[in-house]
């Protein structure tokens, strides 16, 4: 992973002005050397003793801080201040990587046995994962708040917190590679412009153009990496390039050849692109056989050199073996379109020509030649078959369909079921709750009965009585229209709108916290291990606290909004009550079942 050296200030407390010095970090430890050698603030700390890192959100004049916490329970740590956020972020990423690596080390023997024995104790975290989590937290302040409250408040473990947000992490990972702007379809053209008075021609190059040039002309890219900055500067390089472009554009082949003979760097731009030629050779082997015209050329004995009809006006006789580029517009167009289709593969910021060139070169590392595989590949056959088949003579093979895409099936179906139940809530009398303890035989008979009764009463189709259906429909309609009326008419005038702002915020915070806690609470049932038991206890404590806070809010509220607040708080307390009562039930049950030796 390497090491890192950066200027920073070490602070013992937040108020401390800080000791300026140099922060050095490597894989194992970090050291801090103050600029003032007399200062006693020298540090030499092993990363293994660091449990986590925190950083602040920088806005306005606040300094950029990074806190490397020693032990999350005790809260001790090292605080550094940086000149700017960029430096801080660099450090932070580095630390995150190092910590991620250290946390990947198997549990140390000093660990309490109950943790090391459980699967949720320690996670194998990759650096990327840590980074992703950090990024998520940074982007979502609400999440950050929750994280602060529960993880740092030691109610939930880091892993527990993230376990329920797996999909968020995955999404985030996917999103990064999903849609990024590619090259423009239109070819940005390096056009010279003359000012008309002097004998000077000006070319304008933007970083986007440079990116495109590097992508379309690998030889230029290679030349750039070879020449800059060893042989010439950035500017010189592009001046040469533009000179060559100008020569090509004016089709002044004589001048081009002459200049190229003198200047070997310039010659690079005028030559045919050998990298492209090599790539083409590889690609041609993988081309769809139904359009492989190169294979025709291999089969054409009529057009042996000097055979066939040479000069009937349809063919051009050009010598193509010339080393100097006969680059034409059509070649450029084809190349451009090909690059656009390939898309931008590497994750590069359009900042520096050098990094762009390097990234492109890396992404272009040739895959191993697979010429032996191509013949047997099934894909070719399928392709050819598709091109030859006459589609409408054949009955359609299979109806094409788009697979249903549900991110989290369980969640989806649960919510659907809940919806269905809720909407039916008013008319529940139509469904009889039944104790389903039937044997298969009984079920079979029952179904047969149903079917036969259905057959008999085919005429009046009694699957659902019509008045019942009407009732359900009416109710549903009413519900929908009512809620819509309420929501649309006065969105600001909801219950929440009527309570004072700070109470509103407080309630919202509690609501999100309760949701998070409840999720963890319910997901831990049935309790099968000590870890889960501990978790439930912790969560329960936290819920009790919130419960009390809610009660306090309710009681302290102004009389004019008390009713609204109590209506708002009610669903929260109800949900919490349900959880508590469930917990009580479980405890009673386990007490009845007799004390388990290990305590739950």
């Amino acid at each position: 992973m390497g090491s890192m050296t950066i200027g920073a200030k070490y602070k013992t407390t937040l108020k401390d002005p800080g000791t300026p010095g140099i922060l050095r970090m490597n894989d194992d430890k970090f050291t801090f050397t103050p600029n003032d050698p007399r200062s006693a603030m020298k540090l030499n700390v092993d990363f293994r003793s660091i449990k986590g890192h925190k950083f602040n959100k920088v806005d306005g004049n606040k300094p950029a801080l990074l806190n490397l916490s020693k032990d999350s329970d005790k809260g001790g740590g090292y605080m550094f201040e940086f000149d700017n956020v960029g430096n801080r972020d660099l450090c932070r990423d580095f630390v995150a990587k190092v910590l991620g690596k250290h946390q990947g080390i198997p549990p140390r023997p000093t660990m309490p046995p109950e943790i090391s024995g459980s699967s949720t104790g320690l996670e194998q975290l990759s650096a990327a994962e840590v980074e992703r989590r950090v990024k998520l937290l940074r982007e979502d302040s609400e999440l950050q708040k929750l994280h602060k409250k529960f993880v740092l408040g030691n109610i939930l473990r880091e892993s527990e917190f993230w376990a329920t947000r797996k999909n968020l992490l995955d999404d985030e990972a996917n999103k990064a590679s999903k849609q990024r702007p590619g090259f423009k379809t239109a070819m940005s053209d390096v056009r010279p412009s003359a000012d008309g008075r002097t004998n000077k021609v000006t070319f304008n190059l933007t970083s986007e153009m440079i990116h495109q040039i590097f992508a379309e002309k690998p030889a230029v890219r290679r030349a750039f990496l070879d020449f800059v900055p060893k042989k010439m500067t950035d500017i010189e390089f592009w001046r040469k390039y533009c000179r060559a472009e100008y020569l090509l554009r004016t089709k002044n082949t004589v001048a081009a050849t002459a200049e190229a003979a003198e200047d070997e760097e310039l010659a690079v731009f005028l030559k045919n692109d050998d990298i492209l030629a090599k790539e083409a050779k590889l690609k041609i082997k993988r081309v769809d056989p139904t359009l492989d015209m190169a294979a025709d050329a291999g089969d054409d004995y009529i057009h042996l050199p000097d055979h066939g009809i040479l000069r009937d006006g349809s063919k051009e006789t050009v010598d193509t073996d010339s080393e100097w580029a006969q680059r034409t517009l059509s070649q450029e167009l084809n190349r451009h379109a090909a690059v656009v289709l390939e898309g931008i593969t590497s994750d590069v910021e359009l900042t520096d020509a050098k990094t762009v060139a390097e990234a492109l070169t890396r992404s272009k590392k040739e895959p191993p030649s697979t010429s032996t595989v191509d013949d047997d590949s099934h894909e070719r056959l399928v392709k050819v078959a598709r091109m030859t088949e006459i589609e409408d003579l054949q009955a359609p093979r299979s109806v094409p369909y788009a697979p249903l895409s549900i991110k989290d099936p369980r969640q989806y179906f649960d919510s659907q079921q809940a919806n269905a139940l809720r909407s039916l809530g008013g008319s529940n009398d139509g469904r009889k709750a039944r104790n389903c303890s039937l044997s298969t035989e009984e079920v079979f008979h029952h179904i047969m009965d149903q079917i036969s009764s259905f057959k008999v009463n085919k005429s009046n189709c009694s699957v659902l009585e019509s008045d019942m259906a009407l009732k359900v429909l009416n109710e549903l309609n009413e519900g929908i229209s009512r809620s819509r009326r309420l929501n649309l008419k006065n969105p600001q005038e909801g219950l929440l709108g009527r309570v004072p702002q700070h109470t509103q915020d407080e309630l919202m915070d509690h609501w999100t916290a309760i949701q998070e806690l409840l999720r963890h609470f319910w997901s831990s049932y049935p309790i099968t291990s000590a870890v889960l038991y501990n978790k439930v206890q912790r969560v329960k404590d936290a819920m009790t606290q919130i419960y009390q806070k809610l009660q306090a809010i309710k009681e302290s509220a102004q009389p004019d909004v008390r009713h609204e607040i109590s209506r708002l708080v009610k669903p929260m307390t109800q949900a919490l009550d349900a959880a508590f009562s469930h917990d009580l039930e479980q405890q009673q049950k386990s007490a009845k079942a007799g004390n388990k030796p290990n305590g739950y």
Binding site: A280, L291, L304, I309, G313, S330, D375, E389
Partner: protein, 758 residues
């Protein structure tokens, strides 16, 4: 499906059949019954290939006395692949007993078949051939037998040779369908040379699919297709250009570079002769004796030694002893030197010369002392000499071979050829590039042996209009000659003639108008408007490379190209086949991914000849201009004169016919089946004239409404939008009302019933 066609049970690989295909099969069956030739025009996109192969296969399955021997000639390798894919589909639908015993294979050059890791790595065809010969020539293998250490051999060929000696080739290649890729895969798997295996198995295969030239070009045909039997049914698919292939097969041109190369070759040969004289004089003596005995060739050459054969047609090759004065190697060498010197002198001319072969031969005789008979034997004598000298790198000796080809041809033919010497290309008069061109004018010469040799030759294409011209051009008598129209379920093709641009001024590629900036802009605007309205792929065809290059550059300067690229990616055909292939591949990718693309191509070019732009790969084809040949070309003028004198075909008629068949060929690539749809725009004011338009094939004409004959860009755009909207609607595939456009098995049974009752 299976159905009964006039008493013949036909196996057809699809669940339904077009009525055209049914009728087509009927005609084909009559031709097979009569054991005669057939000329059939059927619109593209109606499944000619499927109809052809299923009828011919079914015919021989029903007539055990006429076993399946089909030679299917395609224009290109990719069409070969498609045909083999259709065969694979058909064989899967045959009764298992039949499909288990049938063998179908494609044949191509070493370049496309070689699996030897080093030899196949070479870039050019000739280099692969040479690399192969270095490993497999008989003398190399003889040498390896005595000195196995230093002489590398090709293990693939050795396996093949052992199996061939044991008569065990069939076990290497079980029945089935083999595309070129399959052959290579088989070769790699069994460690046997796919090229020689295929060459050998061609004799036993039921269906052979290969390029036209393997039958038409005497240089190749006499080594590859020599042993094909008379009972074979020969099919030329996409045969609208067959006359051009025929005349090209017998044409040679000699440039300055050729002569220089030939002189180099002669020096090398003379070195070799000296070397052999010093080391192995017996070999030369043995050759001389053989020539005295009258054998130009050493009888049956080993398959690996075979080289391009005599350029003259097999019937015209003299079966007599090589004349005495060129039997000795040195003497022959001197003759060749004199010939090269003579040609060099003729090339050094300032004026255009046009001579008949007889006069040319006479002047050779008087100035270089080489008589007609010696000229005729040039090729065979050279071949024999190179065998004797054990020369493997034949690609180096291409030049002297060209000279000998030329000599043999002018020594053999007196009619139908002319020799044209031009000091420079007319279009670039400042650049001196002299050339001697021996050009064949008579397409019937090359194809005659095919018609004579095989009972049934079927010539078919989507564009053979006017259909009565082909029998005259090729000089044969078909028993069946018919042009089918297309019954469409809906108007899924929309041809239009665009005569005016958006500014209502006429557009044309006529010589005096083509460089007018107004016309260039109008063409550009047309494409731009269409690119914004038409989804997926658009193909533009231009009349020539130079015109395309010019107009695309002008569009680039005007900024129109940039505007077009806002809508679609642009790809262009270039003279470099590799680049064009990759561009096409990318074009398809762009159409597949929905980005849409425009492909610029050239009429008469490689793309126009064989690439399909069906379905979303081509929703619109624009033919910019009328693709007339370059009428000032002396070769064309000489050919026209010959056609008028010999076949009474008028110059103007032939030129229009030729231009319109190219145009029809270009736009016809857009349709693949009746479910497909596409538009065709003929953008030139000359298309609105009746004499031009009427030369288009009937299936296009029948959809060309009168209202679409004289459009401007804005009207065309309106029609295009309407058409695309109409095509997007769902429709009944089998056709509505009384007109059925898709027949099922029941329909065919009902038809047969009706015929019985009548």
């Amino acid at each position: 499906m299976r159905f009964d066609l006039d008493g013949l049970p036909v196996h057809f690989p699809y669940a339904a059949i077009y009525p055209e295909q049914h009728a087509y099969m009927g005609e084909l069956k009559r031709a097979l019954d009569a054991r005669g030739h057939a000329l059939l025009e059927m619109p593209t996109g109606t499944g000619k290939t499927a109809a052809l192969i299923s009828l011919i296969t079914s015919y021989s399955l029903a007539n055990p006395s006429r076993p399946l021997r089909l030679i299917y000639c395609t224009r290109t390798v990719h069409e070969m692949e498609k045909t083999l894919a259709e065969l694979r589909l058909l064989f899967a639908h045959l009764p298992p007993a039949a499909s288990r015993s049938l063998l179908a294979l494609g044949l191509s050059s070493r370049k496309n078949l070689c699996v030897h890791p080093q030899a196949s790595a070479a870039a050019a065809r000739d280099s692969v051939d040479t690399a192969c010969r270095r490993l497999t020539a008989s003398w190399v293998r003889e040498k390896a037998a005595s000195d196995p250490e230093s002489t590398p051999l090709c293990e693939f060929y050795e396996t093949f040779d052992r199996a061939a000696a044991a008569g065990d080739l069939a076990s290497l290649m079980p029945p089935g369908v083999y595309t070129l890729a399959d052959l290579r895969a088989l070769g790699r798997q069994r460690r046997v040379c796919p090229y020689f295996l295929a060459r050998q198995m061609v004799k036993y295969a039921n269906v052979v699919v290969y390029s036209y030239q393997y039958l038409l070009d005497p240089k190749v045909a006499s080594i590859v297709s020599r042993e094909m039997q008379k009972e074979c049914v020969v099919v030329f698919d996409e045969a609208h250009n067959i006359d051009n292939v025929c005349i090209e097969a017998l044409s040679v041109s000699i440039r300055k570079q050729t002569l220089e190369g030939a002189e180099r070759n002669l020096r090398r040969i003379s070195h070799e002769i000296d070397r052999f004289k010093a080391t192995d004089a017996n070999r030369l003596r043995a050759e001389y004796n053989r020539l005295v005995d009258g054998l130009a060739q050493r009888g049956n050459l080993p398959i690996s030694d075979a080289w391009l054969a005599n350029p003259a047609l097999p019937d015209d090759i003299l079966r007599e002893a090589v004349p005495g004065n060129i039997r000795r190697a040195e003497h022959f060498l001197a003759v060749l030197r004199r010939l090269v010197r003579f040609l060099d002198g003729r090339l050094d001319t300032e004026t255009v010369e046009n001579e008949m072969p007889v006069a040319f031969v006479a002047s050779i005789h008087s100035q270089a002392g080489i008589d007609q008979k010696m000229l005729r034997f040039c090729y065979d004598r050279l071949h024999s000499l190179m065998m004797t000298l054990e020369i493997t790198d034949t690609d180096e000796f291409m030049h002297i071979q060209t000279i000998c080809d030329f000599a043999t041809l002018i020594g053999t033919y007196t009619r139908g050829f002319s020799i044209i010497i031009e000091p420079y290309d007319d279009r670039m008069p400042d650049i001196r590039d002299p050339v001697i061109q021996l050009s064949c004018h008579d397409a019937s010469l090359a194809i005659r042996p095919v018609f004579d040799r095989f009972e049934t030759v079927v010539i078919t294409s989507g564009t053979l209009s006017p259909i009565d011209l082909y029998p005259r051009l090729l000089n044969f008598n078909p028993v069946i000659s018919r042009s089918f129209t297309m019954s469409l379920t809906r108007d899924c093709i929309c041809p239009m003639v665009l005569t005016r641009g958006s500014d209502q001024l006429p557009v044309s590629t006529k010589f005096d108008m083509r460089s007018d900036p107004g016309v260039v802009r109008n063409y550009g605007r047309l494409l731009l408007e269409m690119a914004s309205a038409v989804p997926d792929g658009i193909v533009g065809f231009f009349v020539s490379y130079s015109y395309m290059d010019g107009i695309v550059n002008s569009w680039h300067e005007m900024g129109i190209l940039q505007d077009i690229m806002q809508h679609k990616l642009v790809f262009i055909e270039t003279p470099d086949v590799v680049e064009t292939t990759l561009a096409l591949d990318n074009y398809r990718k762009a159409c597949d991914c929905g980005r849409g693309a425009v492909f610029f191509s050239v009429a008469r070019g490689k793309v126009a000849e064989g690439i399909d732009f069906d379905r979303h790969y081509g929703r619109l084809v624009i033919m910019f201009g009328v693709p007339f040949q370059y009428t000032l070309s002396r070769i064309l003028l000489a050919r026209l004169e010959y056609l008028r004198e010999t076949f009474q075909i008028k110059e103007g008629d032939f030129l229009t016919f030729d231009a319109l068949r190219q145009a029809a060929q270009c736009v016809g690539r857009v349709i693949r089946s009746k479910a497909d749809y596409g538009m065709m725009i003929f953008a030139d004011k000359r298309y609105s004239r009746h004499d031009k338009r009427s030369k288009l094939p009937g299936w296009i004409l029948s959809h060309l409404h009168d209202a679409h004959l004289n459009l401007s860009t804005d009207m065309a755009l309106h029609i295009a939008r309407e058409f695309l909207r109409r095509m997007a609607q769902p429709y009944d595939k089998t056709g509505s009302g009384g007109k059925k456009t898709l027949l099922t098995e029941e329909d065919l049974q009902a038809m047969a019933q009706d015929a019985m009752e009548m």
